[in-house]
Subunit: 321 residues, 6 copies
Amino acid sequence: MKYLNELAEGDKVSAVYLCKKAATLTTKNGKEYMSLTLMDKTANTDAKIWDPDSEGIGDFDELDYISIIGDVTVFNGAIQINIRRLRRAEDGEYNPSDYLPMSPYDADGMYTQLKNVIETVKNPYLNQLLKSFFTDDREFIESFRKSSAAKTVHHGFVGGLIQHTLAVTRLCKYYTKAYTVLDHDLLISAALLHDIGKVRELTRFPENDYSDEGQLLGHIYMGAEMVAENAKKIEGFPTKLLTELQHCILAHHGELEFGSPKTPELIEAYALHMADNTDAKMETFLEAVSGKEPDKWLGINRPLGANIRRTSVWTEETTNE
Amino acid sequence: MKYLNELAEGDKVSAVYLCKKAATLTTKNGKEYMSLTLMDKTANTDAKIWDPDSEGIGDFDELDYISIIGDVTVFNGAIQINIRRLRRAEDGEYNPSDYLPMSPYDADGMYTQLKNVIETVKNPYLNQLLKSFFTDDREFIESFRKSSAAKTVHHGFVGGLIQHTLAVTRLCKYYTKAYTVLDHDLLISAALLHDIGKVRELTRFPENDYSDEGQLLGHIYMGAEMVAENAKKIEGFPTKLLTELQHCILAHHGELEFGSPKTPELIEAYALHMADNTDAKMETFLEAVSGKEPDKWLGINRPLGANIRRTSVWTEETTNE
Amino acid sequence: MKYLNELAEGDKVSAVYLCKKAATLTTKNGKEYMSLTLMDKTANTDAKIWDPDSEGIGDFDELDYISIIGDVTVFNGAIQINIRRLRRAEDGEYNPSDYLPMSPYDADGMYTQLKNVIETVKNPYLNQLLKSFFTDDREFIESFRKSSAAKTVHHGFVGGLIQHTLAVTRLCKYYTKAYTVLDHDLLISAALLHDIGKVRELTRFPENDYSDEGQLLGHIYMGAEMVAENAKKIEGFPTKLLTELQHCILAHHGELEFGSPKTPELIEAYALHMADNTDAKMETFLEAVSGKEPDKWLGINRPLGANIRRTSVWTEETTNE
Amino acid sequence: MKYLNELAEGDKVSAVYLCKKAATLTTKNGKEYMSLTLMDKTANTDAKIWDPDSEGIGDFDELDYISIIGDVTVFNGAIQINIRRLRRAEDGEYNPSDYLPMSPYDADGMYTQLKNVIETVKNPYLNQLLKSFFTDDREFIESFRKSSAAKTVHHGFVGGLIQHTLAVTRLCKYYTKAYTVLDHDLLISAALLHDIGKVRELTRFPENDYSDEGQLLGHIYMGAEMVAENAKKIEGFPTKLLTELQHCILAHHGELEFGSPKTPELIEAYALHMADNTDAKMETFLEAVSGKEPDKWLGINRPLGANIRRTSVWTEETTNE
Amino acid sequence: MKYLNELAEGDKVSAVYLCKKAATLTTKNGKEYMSLTLMDKTANTDAKIWDPDSEGIGDFDELDYISIIGDVTVFNGAIQINIRRLRRAEDGEYNPSDYLPMSPYDADGMYTQLKNVIETVKNPYLNQLLKSFFTDDREFIESFRKSSAAKTVHHGFVGGLIQHTLAVTRLCKYYTKAYTVLDHDLLISAALLHDIGKVRELTRFPENDYSDEGQLLGHIYMGAEMVAENAKKIEGFPTKLLTELQHCILAHHGELEFGSPKTPELIEAYALHMADNTDAKMETFLEAVSGKEPDKWLGINRPLGANIRRTSVWTEETTNE
Amino acid sequence: MKYLNELAEGDKVSAVYLCKKAATLTTKNGKEYMSLTLMDKTANTDAKIWDPDSEGIGDFDELDYISIIGDVTVFNGAIQINIRRLRRAEDGEYNPSDYLPMSPYDADGMYTQLKNVIETVKNPYLNQLLKSFFTDDREFIESFRKSSAAKTVHHGFVGGLIQHTLAVTRLCKYYTKAYTVLDHDLLISAALLHDIGKVRELTRFPENDYSDEGQLLGHIYMGAEMVAENAKKIEGFPTKLLTELQHCILAHHGELEFGSPKTPELIEAYALHMADNTDAKMETFLEAVSGKEPDKWLGINRPLGANIRRTSVWTEETTNE
């Protein structure tokens, strides 16, 4: 397929794209036309249907994959497609991974890893709590697997949330070996649950934007509330254990000014904060330099707070020269 | 009665005090003695029972009101009472308001005011939610009426929470008249509920300190969670209304660095923040200057961030001179 | 009339606008033309007179209301009017409120309210001081009534200063009832006088920009100096009372970093700061959400420091559904 | 004379000291006695007159130099003098410079320098304005010469204000040569006048504390107001020149958070700020290290924000070794 | 010559410019063309050679001065030159000072001044160290004389580094007279050496951008390291003297947040910081207002943190009017 | 042995302590005596020798282990030992680990681990550089093994530097597996070298305080300089590789305000910063809670910025109850 970022003025285009938005408008002289936003993993592009009643234009809805034929023009300095024919695409005509940014890791593989980690949590209450989310709640699992970890910045792709959660959990697993004072079950449970509120904070792709409750309450609050709800359904769940777990979630941004209503007061809460921060920053760096030339400065990266570049590539050969 | 802050070296004392703490210790030469902290509304004072097995020393527990006879000495520059006789005091021998700092306003009167305000909230869901706390839940009402609004700083007395809640609510009532865009029912409900988490964050007097869950979760989180719990029991409670109400509670400290996980995004949330801040600062100022001479500088007041003094007293007479 | 923000390319326009700026320029080939900025309450728009010596172009000055006939074109992506005919408009041909943003409240009504409040200040020195500005000084009154309270942000319209001053004063009046420790006469006087320096800091509409002395000295300094000047003409004005009043004015921004050279050291200064801040923020919020759809996020509002939206509208009907 | 910081328990003392404070008190058994604070340039020391009616105790007032005979004891770990005989000291019996911290520079010499600098200001309005303070106003000159430049931190001694003012003015003089864009007369006038508000902000020695109006208004505001008052008495003083001069004074702390209501907007204002800051910091450093061993760390110096030490002493000999 | 900022659409141009960049590209239809960036002291401008194989286009390299003949067009709103003929310019055909921003002071004169200052440093080790850079190291001297003091902000021109270094050194010289506690030789040496790292941090004109090591290590670190390297070659250089000198260089930005790894702990380090800051800010102000009208506000100047304007011009005449 | 923190008034003491400081002083009546500071791993305690010429007092120096006999008294509220007999202790009479805080890990074991890690660095230049410090430089190795990682806060014990270095290196090793984009050899080398400047910044135990050059230059600068010195002796060491390695060291504190003159611009620099911060914070937490009761709040911990407590202890038994 031809990706949207490859189109040039004058091209004829015949391909399947995801229709992110569609609206019917009226020109000054009272004629109806349609304005669409087409999307693939490389870009969002405006498209117009100047003659929506034409026979060649079939029925479709927002978020459908559509097969179009049209002409590429330039309007106000941006590419625009004038669509002449359009129909809903059928399964098999397109590969979803061409249309949405996706985790480079296999979705089923990540989910299996996550379930394996849960088995290492021996505290029966925490184990049951984890399963109430990750094994028993179909709808939650579906959302958790498809969610991104952020609107932008890092892990902003389908599967980003589970990828980030696993990376944080593995870091915490390493910490439990390096710093044996850490309570394994508390820390691993907190790592697995720390960002579950993002399932409600962000909408699914292709939108991937803040939901109304996400904007008003935030994933930190919602995650702690979700944990409380499920824990209260588990008979005998120790109150103090729940409080400590909720604290880890509330404090995982590390400082008040980053939206945590509490700073870490337990060593597991601090460890979770370090793991979360480490994975977020490593991934931010990685996404920023990936595909860039070594040795070339990329300018100030806002979340990292510095002008950055890829490191020089040193192999035995280059350094022996 | 003679207050603890009036005792001087050499005094004989015979009075009833509240026994805040009591511990049995051993001297170097192996003899047992008891070390007590006595309390009234003016001070905390150390007391010793050097001969706990003496006949004059009756049974008692921490937090009992005890009638004592003893001698006042000075140890390491501080007043200390050596107790010779001790017995539990009986009801009627003492007036609790002499022993704990208390709101200057009548407890029943404040509670009646609060119930009257609830009647002005016409939205049936919010009205029912408010009653689920302030009318229907005996235990909650009891705690809410006795709680302070803070460990120190302002409203740090029995009844401080209800006094502060009413003052904030009255300010918000005024705002709804001055700024008619405000939603009366949402704002008044948020005002009444904004600090209910303090019932769990702080322990009751005479301790009045952070509880374990208070330290780990904070009253902002707990208040929003309590509201969610009760609202979910009310059939048909609109989700968006609940979210907006919770947002007002989460955002009432106004800025992330003051422990709110969200800054105010709705005008009612901002109004609540201003009302809360106004009453907190006015009360802090008032407590700091009350009983002080006008025109005399009192030094830097930490929460207010300034060297403060009472304003000069201007009456028609003084300014006509 | 057709408002400037309604004009589209190709329109013929025949209407009265306010001429904010006018300049005579020369083209590359040496021909003179005029470049104007036209203004109404909806927009500022460029206009050109390519043939200023034409008969149809009458005499006029900057800040005149002018009646024009011309053609609407687009230049560099912005609307431009090519004026063919122009003459000064006469009174009655236009309504000033179409051209300048104005307070929604009646100007005379606000002034009457202000004078009524002054009558409640019984301290003879303060009463006389207030009258020296608001009753006796014709020029000051004229300016004060027409001034905005800010260049942008909030109350940026004709009458904004008196509207804000009254709102702050009413809030302070409420405070004096809620917190009886406050000195009524000092606080109400400070509220009425707190922003009088803005009369000198900002120029009148349609310019409404910082004056040279406004930029160099600021309204906080100038207001305190103006108060000192008038007070020194009142025999026997108590020095300490003047100092306390000036302090309230100097400290009303609450913190050094917001331009107050002193933080509030008297409770009346703190109260004034809270009232000023409350009205400023409520008005900022109100101006930002007014006319917007409920439930729709409006993006980050800089002065409020948050992504904001209008609150959902809850009526008995909607919540009963 | 024996300085107060040299007294030891058991000493007999017979010397002249400055009586900073004196109060008549009553013991528990109802007997009157006097409590004094004696002062010299090395320390403040408590003294008691247990028998004020004794014949040996003459009349005296606070701030008198008094000749005493007494015994040195220790009370609560601090030196105390029990006075047996006391009389007012006569001129010649003492040297004021033993009792108050004083500038190392000659008072008359500094005043002469200051008057010479004024002669270099050729702008007739500025020249006249400077003279209205420094030549014509006896009371002001007296205060200005005796004032310190600060309660603590730097130049906290008699003559500190004029010494600092001269040093800042000389730095500005140097700047006018190095950066010829600077307006000599504006900058030199601003330098001479920048701290005149301190005459009202601080009381004279031996008190040297914030006055009531100093605490409420601050020397920055008061200095600008004083300049306005005198300038308005000079016929024809250009308004803009006055505004620019006042701006330099208001902005001389450089940043809002240091109490300037405006940051420097004119190059002369910036230059004055740099000169003021340079002299303040150099003097702070100098006072902190003077008399200390080279190479020895002195701990964190709060105003300088660093652990400091005197620099090693390098002479041709030491470095040639 | 016609400067680049004077070119208008339709002009024919025949002039010498500096070729800052040159690249050979390919059009969509596979034809090669060249894209150049031409530069003079007024602007950077794009130029194209559509027919690079034409006889009229001679050989040249980036950073050559080239004599061109071409046509001025506008592309995407910006001036572009289509070059028809091109050849390398010869010495004498152009004046380098037309092409690069240059210090207004004579290069040789500044270098002589610098060498004269070195003679006033009597400490033999410091004197020898200074000469190891400024007298003995040809390559260093060449770079130091041609370097700017910054990429932008202030002294961003050829000779800027030596001009700034001299101004700072003269200020320090003044300080040694005003504050005799300062060690002359240490301070003057530190002043001369404080920015030598900029020779490596920035590349030479016309690029004048951060070098790779400049971006990674910074001139503060590199300057201190360069001093250490040269000092270690001087027999007997006292270790403590070297440490103190390096400290002055490391601390000369005054605060950690401005990139100094240490805040000033010695008075000479503080003095150097003040001198550096004073000259940087005075030059920033001067460059911002130079050539601007007095009395006209120039908007917020980022490095100065304020809206600025040129001061009014006061001459005896204007103020006497 | 009886530890210093176990001594009580009236005890006779006969034990070996480390003599940290010793000085000969003179009483008021001119008699010489000695004042000592004795030290073991539990406390520092004052001791006096009132009769230094007595036969029982043998020769000794500061930092000797001394065997004393004396009496424990209390002076100014602190324990003091009056020494009657004193002699140098002999090897075998004491165990150094009783006198200095020491790493819980075996010194030789840690050094072996470190050498093993070096073997995994395959880049020949980096490998040789690491060996130039850790294998070839006897004096450096000795210091590195005995040094603490900090004066206070964390790892403030003998062996703390190597323990911290190993923990950081192991974390980095884990990162290289989790984030394969990281250059193993650069990151591991940077981790091993990041704190080598501490060998010069801090003096050895028992002093463990900032050295003069440590205070003036800091370990960040010194570490980078040390790396440069050794790298320059290795033929062909690639310049860019050295610069990148130095950058990692300079940036390892992560932000300017924590003393790094550069923020991390390479992903390896960011990774090193996260590893350093993680180990520092985990160790700080661990040292703060170790030996404390679970569930008991310990108050605000300054470096961690929070009130902290040990986590509850959850075992299968406790949570099954």
